[in-house]
Each structure stands twice: as C-alpha cells, then as structure tokens.
C-alpha cells in the first residue's frame, strides 16, 4: 500500500473545498474526503495485518523514501509500524467526527473546513514520518491552522487563547528544532549526518550529546502534550476553540507530543531517557495530581475537560518515563483512548452548548429529560474518563499502572500510587459535573423547548463510542498492534540499561 495516499486524500479534499460554493457543497466534500480517509485507515490496518501474518517482520512497513534535499541528506521518508497505525486510526476517527460535528458551521464555512482538513494532513504526515526533518515539517504544519481556527471561530477570549496556544506550541517546536539539530550533527552514518529515524536508532548517539539534547526534544514535544510547567496553553486553548478544533486539539494534537516524546526523544536517545526518567516521572505525577485537583475547581464544562486532559496526558508521560514494556504499551493505549474519549467529551459539550448557550455547570441541569441522547453521550464520555471497566480508559490506565509497578524503585512506586489515587479525584469531578449538569430538575424554563441530537451528532457519538467500546472490550487487538513497536523501543532502552 502506498502511504502517500494518506497525505494525498486530505490535500485533494482541501483543494476541492476551495472550489466549492456554499455550506452544503463544502461540508459534503469535507465529509467525503474524511470518510475516504477513514476507510483508507482501516484498509491500512488490514494491509498491515496481512503483511505481518505473511511473515514480514521488518520494523517499518510500506516504506517510501525520496531524496528531498540531497546535499543535507534530508529525505522524505515515510513508513508505519503498529504504533503509527494506531495513531492514524485515531486521527481518522477524530477528523470524521470533527467534520460531522461542525455540520452547521455557517460562518466562513469554506475556510473552516479547509483549515480543519489541512490540519489533519499535518497530523497524518507527522505519524507516518520516518525522517526527522519530515516529522518536524508536519509538526509545524499542524500548529498555525489551530491559531486561525481558534481565533476566528472560537468563543470567549479567543484572540488571547489563540495567540497563547500558537506561541507556546511554536516555542515547543523551537526546542524540538534544537534537539533535532543536535541529533543531526552527532550522527555519523556512512560519513554523513542523518535525520533518518531508523538509521539513527541503530547508531548510538554519544552519551554527552544525548544528555544535552534529550531535554530539548522531550520538553519540546512535552509542551504539545501538556508537560507540567508548560501546560498553561491547554485550558485556554481548548475552551476557546470551536468544538471541532477542541476535539482535534485534545484528541490528536496533544498526541503529537506524546508520540514525539516516545519516538524521537526516548527511542533515539535511550541512555538519556534513563538518566532523566526520574525527572519525567516527577513532572508527570505533578501534572496528573495537579490536573485532577485543578479540575475540581472548574465551573465551565470545557475547562473541566481541558484540565482533566492535562491529568490524563500526564499518564502518557508517566508511562513513557517508567520505561518498562508494559508501561510504554499502556502509554500508547492511553494516547488512543484519551484521544477518542476527549473528542467525544468535547463533542457532547459542543452539542449542549449549541443548544443552551451556556457551559457553566451551575446554570445547566435536567438535560436528561429534554435531550436524553446527548446526555447519555456526555455521561458515557465521563465514565470513560474516570476509567470505568468496559471502556478504553480503564484498559489503558490499568496497563500503565501495571507497567509502572514493575519498576521496583520505591520512589517510582510512590509515583504510581499517587497516580492511581488521582482516579478517585477524577471520579469526584466527573460525577459531580454529570450529576448537576445532566441529572436533577430542569433549571431553566427555556431548556424544555430544546431538541435532542440530529443525525450528524448521533453519527459522531456512534463512531467515537464505537471506538471506545471496542478498545475497552477487546483491548488485546490494540495491544497486539502496538506491542512490536514498543518492543523495538524497549530494545533500545534495554540496551541502554545494560550499558549503564
């Protein structure tokens, strides 16, 4: 299978949108494009399994390598392993849901869908890149459209949030850039410096360079995934963004960071990953607890989900920092699970907001009576967020905790216990929000005239809940898909442990 299709379809869709007239044509084109991409993602999964069962054990499949800037040894190099396939599936889920949820976006619809599809192209490109230059290119492609999406179609202090988000993410990619250039100049593959991920992983970067550049790469990507002191863009950005953009931000954009931390920082600089693992765990534990406690204080539904995203993404970094096979697998599962769950949550909040015009928990109430479907979706998202068995959140977090516990160091165990304890806090804020916003008597008389979900909103819920439940009930499919990839990373870090 040719992976370029994954970029070609969004690109053609975006171009086609430019030639459309009116909301109806635009949204049909966007839906068609993202549906095609959705099917293609499953086709990729199918092909991936075919290859693997046929005995193809090479680390990356469907590779495509094209010399882009030959004098600098920069290549357009793409390929996938199980982790990438999982992330591509996640992206396809969230993007199609995002298009459907914006079905009635009537102001500047052409620009909106163009930017949304363009953004998704950045994410797809990022997940299939095997060359650090290509990876960095797509990472930055996925930043600026967010600025426009939030700033133009957002709500509340949108200009401020958009600027804050864009600058912090650009700051992250500036750090990533320094890390990447450090990696580049410290490799020597056949006499040349290299950006090639697979080649660099076989070449061991000198220890002092690793120690110097790991923090740049990890913190840089960490900013994308709300690493503790750099998480401040998350609440503002998420809550000001229009629904589809919030879904994309929390569902995919934050995963770009997690994937980068894993694939670039940890995989290419394993010795440094060991050296710094204590700090990573400290920061991620703080993020988990701080995020959960901060969520308790929030009154706005979007802020609740945004702060809880900080906490949940802390689990991803915790899993990476623990550096055991199970914990890293759990981290990847948590990325997929949180992506679907938080997209569902934001979609539900968006549906509620578009009807009631308020997101304040105190002003909402009794929605179950007037819009049972949306309320049910909201509650399902909440239950998944607090880790109820049967949904994906439980599986992912459980795997991370089990993996973390394998690390015998008492401080690491303490971090694991604290992270586990945060689940209780999660339960408190989720149940409280759900209880007062959805259950109880109707607080506002005009709520009783509101309508329930339309077909497009139902479809969003079905797609996302489908993903969540499948992972929750049949987690071994996802686990088997990503395990070879995480094993490869562990092989690196395991060697690092031995040389230490």
């Amino acid at each position: 299978m040719n992976l370029n299709l994954l970029l070609l379809i969004p690109m053609l869709t975006a171009i086609a949108i430019l030639f459309c007239k009116g909301l109806k044509q635009v949204r049909m084109t966007a839906l068609l494009g993202s549906a095609l991409q959705f099917i293609l993602a499953f086709f990729l999964l199918y092909n991936f399994y075919e290859e693997r069962t046929a005995g193809n054990i090479s680390q990356m499949l469907f590779e495509f390598n094209y010399s882009w800037f030959a004098p600098l040894n920069i290549n357009y190099h793409i390929g996938v392993d199980g982790i990438s396939v999982a992330m591509i599936l996640l992206t396809a889920f969230v993007v199609i849901a995002g298009v459907l949820v914006s079905w009635t976006m009537d102001s500047l619809s052409k620009e909106f869908f163009f930017l949304l599809i363009f953004l998704s192209m950045g994410a797809y490109g990022f997940f299939i890149s095997l060359d650090l230059f290509t990876l960095f290119f797509f990472l930055e492609v996925a930043v600026i459209p967010k600025f426009l999406l939030i700033g133009i179609w957002g709500s509340g202090p949108k200009e401020y949030s958009a600027m804050k988000l864009a600058l912090m993410l650009m700051g992250g990619s500036a750090l990533v850039f320094v890390g990447l250039s450090g990696i580049y100049f410290n490799t020597n593959i056949g006499g040349l410096h290299s950006f090639d991920l697979v080649q660099i992983s076989k070449f061991r970067i000198p220890m002092d360079a690793q120690l110097l550049f790991f923090p740049f790469a990890f913190v840089g990507f960490g900013i994308f995934t709300a690493l503790f002191p750099f998480h401040t863009w998350v609440p503002d950005g998420h809550s000001s963004a229009p629904t589809a953009a919030s879904m994309f931000l929390a569902g995919i954009s934050m995963k770009l960071g997690g994937y980068g931390c894993l694939r670039v920082a940890t995989y290419l600089m394993p010795d440094a990953a060991h050296a710094y693992s204590g700090i990573i765990i400290l920061l991620s534990t703080i993020a988990i607890i701080y995020g959960a406690l901060a969520t308790m204080m929030q009154k706005d539904l979007k802020y609740i989900n945004a702060y809880s995203s900080i906490s949940h993404c802390g689990f991803v970094l915790l899993g990476i920092g623990m550096l055991t096979q199970t914990s890293i697998t759990g981290a990847v599962m948590q990325m997929v699970s949180h992506g679907l769950m938080t997209a569902l949550f934001f979609a539900a909040i968006g549906m509620i907001y578009s009807r009631t015009h308020t997101r304040m928990v105190a002003q909402l109430g009794g929605l179950m009576k007037v819009m049972p479907f949306i309320s049910a979706v909201f509650i399902i998202a909440g239950l998944c967020s607090l880790g109820l068995p049967g949904f994906s959140g439980f599986v992912a977090e459980m795997t991370i905790f089990m993996g973390s516990w394998q690390n015998p160091d008492p401080m690491y165990r303490l971090a694991t216990i604290l992270a586990c304890a945060s689940i209780v806090v999660t339960a408190v804020y989720i149940l409280r929000a759900a209880g007062s916003a959805v259950m109880g008597p109707i607080t506002d008389s005009h709520f009783s005239e509101l309508t329930d979900a339309r077909w497009n909103e139902k479809l969003v819920a079905v797609i996302l809940i489908g993903g969540i439940v499948v992972i929750g009930v049949l987690p071994f499919y996802l686990k088997d898909l990503i395990t070879p990839g995480t094993q490869e990373i562990l092989l690196q870090t395991g060697q690092a442990l031995m040389t230490k």
Binding site: F69, G151, M163, S181, G182
Partner: protein, 470 residues
Amino acid sequence: MILNDFFILMKQELMLLLIIFILLILKVGKDRSNESLLHLINALLFLNLISGFIMPAEGMLFGNMFKTNALITLEKNILNIGVLLISMQSYSWLKNHKHLSEFYILMLSTLLGMFYMISSGNLLMFYLGLELSTIPLSAMANFDLEKRASSEAAMKLIISSAFSSGLLLFGISLVYGITGSLNFTEITPYLTAGPLQIFAFVLLIAGFSFKISVAPFHFWTADVYEGSPVAVTSYLSVISKGAVLFVFVSVLYTLFKPLAELWYNILFLLSVLTILIGNLFAIRQNNFKRFLAFSSIAQVGFILIGISGSSQMGTASVIYFVLIYIFSNLGAFGVVSLVSALTGNENISDYKGFYKTNPMLSWVLTIALFSLAGVPPTAGFFGKFFLLIAGAAQGNYILITIAALNMVVSFYYYLRIVRSIFMDSNEQPMVKLYIPWMPKLALFICLAGIVVIGLWGTIYEYIFSLSTGF
C-alpha cells in the same frame, strides 16, 4: 582581451545599460502614456531576466577586476527577478507618476552598480559598484515629490550611506596600506590577524553592517523605510540588501578567510544583537512599513547565523534564503503597496477586518507573512531551517537556541497582523480594492514562489552545487 569575451562575460551589465539608454531615448522622444511605457519597460525587464539565463560564462576581465561565474550569474538573476516583481507591483503607484522613466533609470543604475559590486574582484571595483548602487537610491527615496517624509528619508539615507562609505573607504585604505594591493587574490595571503588588520577588518564589517542594517548600525532603517514610497522601500529591503549580502558572503569566505575565527565571533555577537533588537522593536510598530523594516532587521540577524556556518552550506543557505526572502517580502510589500497606492492607508490598524472586504489580498498577505515567520509548508520554513542548520554546523548551540526561541517572538508579531486581518472587528473596514492585472500577476508569482521554492528540493541542490567556488 578578446572583444567576444567582453560581450559574453558582461552581458548582464550590458543588457541593463541598453535598457537605460532605451529609456533615455524614449524620454527625449514624443510623449507616451504612462501605461504603454510601463508595459514596454516590464517587457524589457522580462527580456533582461531571460537573457541572464542564456549562455552563462565564467571568466575574468580588466586584470581580475571583474569576474563572473555560474554562482555570480545566479545571484544577478535572483536580483533581476526581484526587480521585475517590484516593477510590476508598483504599477498602480507609477501609473500616475510624472517622472516615470527617471524612476526606472535611477533604479536600473543602482542595479547596475550592484552587478558590478557582486562581480568585483578588486576592492576599488567593489567600492565603485557600491557607490553607484547607493547614490541613485537616495534620489529614489525622494520620489514622492510632494511628501516631506519622503525627502527626509532621502536625506537620512544619503547621510548614513555616506558615513558607511567613509568607514568602508577607511578600511579599504588601511588594507591597501598593509598589503599594497587591492586585488582580492593578492590580499588574502598577507592577512595574519595583526592589530592593524583587525582594525581595518572591523571598519569594513561596520561599513557592510550599515548597508544591511545590522544592529547597532540599523538606526537609519526604520525612518527611511517609512518615508520612502513603498516601491523604494521594498527595493531597499530586498534587492539592495540582497546584493550586499551576496558580496558580504563572498568577501568573508574568500577574502577574509584567514581571519575566520575573528569574524565568527563578531558575527555571533552581531547576529544575536540584531535578532533581539529587530524583534523587540517590531513588536511595538503600528506603521506597516516600519514594521517590515524591523522585521527585516531580524531576518538579517538570521542570515548572519547562516553565514557563520561552514563555507559551502553557509553560502548555499544564504543565497537560498535571499531568494525565498525576495518572494515572501515582495508578497507582503505587494499588498502593502497596492493598499497604500489605492487608499493611502499604511497603518496596521487599518487592516482590521481586511478579510471581510478583500479575502484574496488577505490570504496573499497572510501567506507571505507566514513565509517570513517560517511556517511550513511555505518556503520561509525551509529557508530558516537551512540557515540555522548551517549555523549549527559550527556546534554553537547557544546561538541556535537563542535564534530558535527568537523565532517564537517573531511569530508573535507576524501573527498579530494576521489577527488584525482575520479576527479584529471593524466598523469601517477598507473598501474592496480593484487590482489591475499586472500587480495581480506579480502577487501570483510571489505566491507560486513561496510554495514551490521550498517544497521543490532541486532548487536548493542547484544552489548548493554552485556554492563551491567564488
């Protein structure tokens, strides 16, 4: 010297001379309408551009005073592209101008001076080219004849140019005193970093810094940019700066090669200072031309980082960046010049709500600004990336980190304009502008350049392959 050689090696300069003479003859002939004249001039400039690509030659003339090779030809072609684009963009402004042909005569004379400067193999020749490229430029800055600010800009430009030329001349005379020669190839072996040589070198660097407005020699830039007509401002910031940068690169890498350690440290300090000052002042500007002046100061800081790298990579990335910079900066200036010519608005706050009335122009301006900021997939991203990578080759990661973080600051002020265009509400946005086809074509070429030059790796490879020899 065979006459044949003379025509082939100097064909680009002769072509310019020819066009200047045609313009002079047209001026004394019967009156023509400005529009037909503009079409004719643009056609001539287009021919000039094309002829640059035909029969590239390599060789020396006049006892090594004048040299040319594939790289130098390419640099001249890049400048030709920029001049053609500026000429097309200033259509709306020049259409009603009384002294149309004089404007072009002055502009092409400066271009001729730059060509001599780029081709120089001798400090005297270099100085002559530099003067030819500066003095007519101040007359051009005065071309909004009825505006006071324009003549003020011209005065400032001529005085600061004269001062920097003085510095250069002093440096050149010291070099002559030390080595007894003005010829590049004869000077280099005598350079040993003695105190007098360092003094001469610092004077030369200061002279260059004035021309490319490197901090702390940048004070003239903002006022001159603000006062001059937009066409001249874009010419100053793109063409004149690009030409001096080309020379600067070749002078540092060949002539002053023995002093590499010295100029590396100087460039380190200057680049950090320039980026910081450019960025910090750009944040505060409200006049669009002043804003672009400070942002271009910051851009030069990034270019200095590229120069501080190793010879081949540094040269290639600087030329590549200047090429991209021409398209991106002219994209932005093109819109600003149209708006300025048609409505007289030059402030950033006038652009509030611009998207509602002029969506196409807004997108062009936005994409050009993104390219200046270095956002992919625009070419600016590739340009900046290669500049910084070239700089990082020296292993100075402090410099690279400062530069990378400063890019974030520059995002802030570029995005601020994008915010005005798209997000800020305005009761009375600008009226819908009617754009003649010629500036429209120029903007389209700029857009195409911004997209293609980055993504198409062959262009960089070509420049890189030429960057071996000077």
